[in-house]
């Protein structure tokens, strides 16, 4: 019997098939033409042709965030690969499983400044979980299976694989062997929390009079929201979510006190500041949460559960660190609570909730809409929530609209809220929404964006036409870079340096030119009807351009260098 021989390009595709990949997001070019040829000759994997490689990474990212699967990107060497850098950084900051296959010039040319040569391994080194360079045929299946394993286990993240042209070409063939059961001696993420730490944590939880659960993106990534809800309801304490953790518990749950941090609710930040114990679950005390670390919750005992030891005690010292997968650790905590026949301290809880309800009464997530004035951006989000009955995938770009969406659209489920939290990448929203729509064609998928952000990847309207991706784009158009402008108003004496958008295009005409439907909204009385109309068009992309009040600021907002709960509630009003 003769062994069947394959080219490297065929091995790439066969490996991806073996890993049950359905979609590759990419853009062809010289060094990867052999892979494109191999893709052409099979029908298990569909390639989605974007218009810019950055969008391929965000599309794969959105797909990964919504499905929990690994997003796969394919780009050519040189500029194709470097165009992926922003998307890789975005995925890295939010711990999203992604594998990027990047072409490279032939191994004999590497280092010669060859045409379309860039050291992509070097370029991406600080923003990846790991990377591989395939220098022989046998490396290919090995690198791809390891990349998927690394990308999707432990703390997930992007993995880059460099594929030089000469290992892909037809002249070079070899037998195909793939081992999908991966073991690496240098990589063994800690799954279970240390038993002693679990006991300590539970002791601290049972003694607490003012406990708050602070949960982040780790809950979403490890599909732990049900377990989180059980834990929250067992302890009967308040819970707050980070921007990345929204949907970890239902946004309408009565124990949910809202998002915390820079634009979080007053009650969430007050709970943190006044807590005697903080149970942090899959969150990393980001600087957009803590505000001034010197003033951060001085009286709280901090229990920090995270899969990544580097996240623990990086910015805020943890008194009880627990390294492990957050779902596994939460089950351990629940088991231990059961074992000691835990019953909540009702008296302490009553007092704690009385205090919290006092903060809730301030109604910090609120705005004023004069019925005859310009549309307030917050109102648009509220109407979107109403029309979609809270059941849409909401993909956001970066800026004021992102914060309004986080504040005014209570997410019922995990993976429903998709945004670039860590990196804050403008241009993320549309391609991410496209990735989500591809995965869930029957669901409402909204891209909430601004007139600045949408123009950072607007070329993808063309991809949407090609693959029939009828997302609903809602642009909160304030004719300026709203968040920049807000800071300039608050910190830079109102000097609007380069934060206004002159000569905005006619977004309606642009969408129509790409074959989509455009709807413009500029008065409050037509807002709900026209948005409803947009969602009734199921088979075409609708671009809704909503002209909103350009003077609106995002409130509440933490006061710079203050404690976590020192906030501006509105213009000139402090907490």
């Amino acid at each position: 019997m003769t062994t069947e021989l394959f080219t490297g390009a065929e091995m790439v595709v066969k490996s991806l098939s073996a890993l049950k990949v359905k979609y590759i997001f990419g853009y062809p070019g010289g060094s990867v033409l052999d892979i494109y040829d191999a893709i052409f000759q099979q029908d298990e994997i569909e390639h989605i042709l974007v218009r810019h490689e950055q969008a391929a990474t965000h599309m794969a990212d959105g797909y990964a965030r919504a499905t929990g699967k690994v997003g796969v990107v394919l780009a050519t060497s040189g500029p194709g690969a470097t165009n992926c850098v922003t998307g890789i950084a975005t995925a890295y900051m939010d711990s999203i499983p992604m594998v990027v296959l990047a072409g490279q010039v032939a191994t004999s040319l590497i280092g010669n400044d060859a045409f379309q040569e860039t050291d992509i391994i070097g370029c991406t080194r600080p923003i990846i979980k790991h990377s591989f360079s395939c220098r022989s045929l046998a490396d290919i299946p090995d690198a791809i299976t390891k990349a998927f394993y690394l990308a999707s286990t432990g703390r997930p993240g992007p993995v880059v694989i460099e594929l030089p042209k000469d290992v892909l070409i037809p002249q070079n063939t070899g037998p195909f062997n793939i081992e999908t059961n991966i073991k690496m001696r240098s990589y063994n993420p800690n799954i279970k929390g240390h038993a002693k730490q679990i006991k300590k944590a539970v002791q601290s939880i049972t003694k607490a009079k003012k406990l708050i659960i602070y949960s982040g993106g780790g809950i979403i990534l490890s599909n732990a929201s049900q377990l989180l809800t059980t834990l929250v309801e067992t302890l009967k304490v308040p819970i707050t979510n980070t921007l990345m953790g929204l949907g970890g518990i239902s946004g309408t749950h009565k124990q949910f006190v809202g998002m915390l941090g820079m634009h979080g609710s007053l009650e969430a930040n007050k709970c943190m500041a006044n807590a005697d114990v903080i149970l942090a679950l899959g969150a990393r005390f980001d600087d957009r949460v803590t505000n001034n670390v010197e003033k951060f919750c001085p009286n709280a005992t901090i229990i920090h559960v995270d899969i990544d030891p580097t996240s623990i005690s990086k910015t805020i010292n943890a008194h009880i660190p627990v390294v492990g997968l957050v779902d596994v650790v939460m089950q351990q905590l629940l088991d231990e609570l059961n074992a000691i026949h835990f019953s909540p301290d009702e008296e302490a809880l009553t007092q704690w909730w009385q205090q919290i309800n006092g903060w809730r009464d301030v109604n910090s997530i609120s705005y004023e809409q004069d019925e005859n004035e310009k549309i307030k951006p917050q109102r648009v989000i509220e109407v979107l929530y109403k029309i979609t009955q809270g059941d849409a995938y909401v993909c956001s770009d970066v800026g004021q609209h992102q914060m309004f969406a986080a504040q005014y659209y209570p997410f019922a489920k995990p993976r429903q809220w998709i945004n670039s939290g860590g990196a804050g990448t403008m241009g993320f929203g549309l391609p991410a929404a496209m990735g989500v729509k591809l995965a869930f064609p029957d669901k409402h998928v909204i891209c909430i964006t601004g007139d600045g952000s949408i123009q950072m990847n607007i070329q993808e309207l063309s991809t949407c036409s090609q693959y029939k991706l009828p997302v609903v784009i809602v642009t909160l158009n304030n004719r300026s870079l709203g968040m920049v402008r807000q800071w300039q108003d608050m910190v830079y004496g109102g000097r609007h340096s380069s934060s206004y958008m002159e000569s905005l295009p006619d977004f309606i005409k642009i969408s129509e030119a790409y074959g989509h439907v455009g709807i413009k909204i500029d008065t409050l009385d037509e807002l709900e009807d026209k948005l409803t109309e947009a969602f009734n068009i199921k088979d075409r992309l609708v671009f809704v351009d909503v002209l909103v009040d350009e003077k609106e600021h995002v409130y509440p907002m933490q006061i710079r260098t203050g404690a976590i709960d020192e906030m501006w509630l509105k213009k000139g009003v402090k907490s």
Binding site: I121, R125, P126, H130, M184, R185, T310, N317
Partner: protein
């Protein structure tokens, strides 16, 4: 405070650059760095001399450990350990007095003269950083140092424990 970290890692292309990149990316100090394959050729052993307060050190150890290629890292500073560095130093040896004095110093420090030229001696010395510094100071009083190269320290804990896979 100065710390010595011993690292055992996969001997893969790019492993070294990942470590160096990590230190620069996160603004950690590297005072010295040595690396070479071990008796098991699939592994590299690295010794890094660094400095920082406890919080920084904790992050350095965790961040290095997080690199996929890294198998083990230990901070040997506070353990009983052996620390060695190699110095090669080329000094001017123009006349008998200087030559005698350099030879005498080399003997005192238990070094070796490993090469001679018309007017130069090249001395090899091993020891910890303090000893090497003292030797260099002593040489400078007697003659002119023309060139010097230090390997950076390598280290290992004393006793039965071994840093292995």
């Amino acid at each position: 405070m100065r710390r010595i970290l011993s690292i055992l890692m996969e001997n893969e292309p790019g492993s070294l650059s990942r470590i160096v990149g990590l230190f620069s990316q996160r603004a950690f100090n590297i005072e010295s760095l040595t690396v070479a394959p071990t008796d098991d050729n699939s592994l590299s052993r690295m010794t890094i001399g660094t400095s920082g307060d406890d919080k920084v050190l904790e992050q350095i150890v965790k961040q290095v450990n997080k690199l996929i290629d890294v198998i083990k890292i230990i901070d040997i500073t506070d353990k009983k350990h052996i620390e060695r560095e190699l110095l090669l130093v080329k000094v001017a040896a123009m006349n008998d007095i200087t030559r005698t004095e350099v030879k005498r110093l080399t003997d005192i420090f238990r070094g070796n003269i490993v090469d001679i030229g018309k007017h130069v001696y090249t001395v090899q010395l091993t020891g910890n950083a303090e000893k090497l510094n003292a030797f260099i100071d002593a040489l400078q009083h007697e003659t002119q140092i023309l060139e010097s190269a230090r390997s950076g320290c390598v280290g290992m804990t004393r006793g039965d424990n071994a840093l292995r896979v």
